[in-house]
Symmetry: C2
Subunit: 310 residues, 2 copies
Amino acid sequence: MRKIKIIGHGVYLPENKIMFGDQTRYRVKEGVTQIDMAYEASQKALASAGIAIDDIDLIIHSGAVPAQLIPATATLLHERMAKGKSIPAFDVNSSCTSFITALDIASLYIEAGQYKTILIVGCDIASAGLNENQKESYELFSDAAAAVIVTKSDSEKQGVEASLQRTFSDGAHATEIRAGGTLHPGYIYKPEDRAEYLFDMQGKQALLTTARYLPSVFDEFFKKYDLTMDDVDLIIPHQASKALSMFMSRMKIPEGKYADRVSEYGNMVGASVPFMLSTLLSEGKIKEGDRVLLCGTAAGLTVNMLLLSL
Amino acid sequence: MRKIKIIGHGVYLPENKIMFGDQTRYRVKEGVTQIDMAYEASQKALASAGIAIDDIDLIIHSGAVPAQLIPATATLLHERMAKGKSIPAFDVNSSCTSFITALDIASLYIEAGQYKTILIVGCDIASAGLNENQKESYELFSDAAAAVIVTKSDSEKQGVEASLQRTFSDGAHATEIRAGGTLHPGYIYKPEDRAEYLFDMQGKQALLTTARYLPSVFDEFFKKYDLTMDDVDLIIPHQASKALSMFMSRMKIPEGKYADRVSEYGNMVGASVPFMLSTLLSEGKIKEGDRVLLCGTAAGLTVNMLLLSL
């Protein structure tokens, strides 16, 4: 057990709500940036913890797409909320499950005594990269930010009990934005390449790689740590798509054992897992003492799992 | 002491050598990608360790600019060298000092027993983003990759002794690539904005923020860990610019106590620190038992320091 506890959390959900059939999605208004969103969520997290920015000794931004190519997004958030302070800031990226990786790293830092109180912000502005001609992905994603503050716990029963990450790169091109990095720099843009700068989801391939690998990583996780589903109070999966319930059902995980709010919120990319964690805490659906399993699949394909005792 | 040791390392240096006065710089040939470079360095590191990819249980890519916006660069490297394996892969970004942050994280993972053997690749292809109209930065940077493999050490005298990272965001815009992320997405490209997609260095501001913060973080580091310069055999700084010797001299660090190869190699962005570490090991200038101080300033402005006992 790496003894940490959540002392604050908060989310930012854009006002702009759009419906695709019975599916609700959120999109930022023109002019609202990734840094604005990350800042708002972070301020709420600080307020809910009853602490000030001076009490934070590390800022981690966890998300898929940066605000700028240089510097790290965490430093731009730092500029907004911590200018004049010397709080270290860096980015962690395992795409949609970046928060799980970042929380794993944060628990190691806290356990080692290197940092005391860490702000982790999961923030992605999906609508900055959606392709209106690809209905399946265009109607799936929402913009959001979520921030979680963790610190050392004195309880032996509180913290990160177990974590496992696996990457299967035969899924590397199932979900991607091919241009914008060094492989296809932005300044060689041609109008006919526009789609290369937008999110591209090969839905069927994404589902097949998830079907192929998600159950095996679940099995590995439970075996490795000698756990059963009875040890988990609630599974908080990345809200990847409407297929979530199908995957859970295939793995014989009953409804009610996992959070499925895809119709209500959509896929929030790197904000998805911390958004759901914060929302369920705010709603009182999970509480101190509960053991929650954060998990999900991410572009890569990465499967990430982390058992957190609240 | 977080007990780790380097068991393999390797670099990739492009064949294409160009001179700016007495300064040598390296640039990749057309068609050579960031993934090619990262792969070549990683293969050399595996060969020097005498191990195979199956012996690696985590891949961390540490650099400033990704190969694609989605997925993480580490997963694209995974696709090249570990396809069919389930080795986890993610990115860590603190810009030019990403390797130091990644090594810090790797040491925590190894100390916790979460992973046994970790491949950290520092790779940036600066020439993909240089502005030929900004002589000062255009003539400073080189493309390179460097890979380091670390594993658990049984010696109490080998590993990460101390680390400190600080971020001062009043330097957030001294060195940046403003476009390409969510703040200015690639698909809104206009030819008159071309420079926004290229690296922009406010040289004077970068020097001033470095002058302002680097010495204070050095002081904090040595005080916090009760160390003196006598505890360090060699300082391996990020080869940021020709001003390196001036900063070292101001901090009263004598020549010979630090590696200054700027004229020979230039600033390799995220590859700079591991490239120098690997090069000095290959040259026999540092060896087992030595205590080396990895350090540097990065866009952000981040100052990073890590004392490693080899």
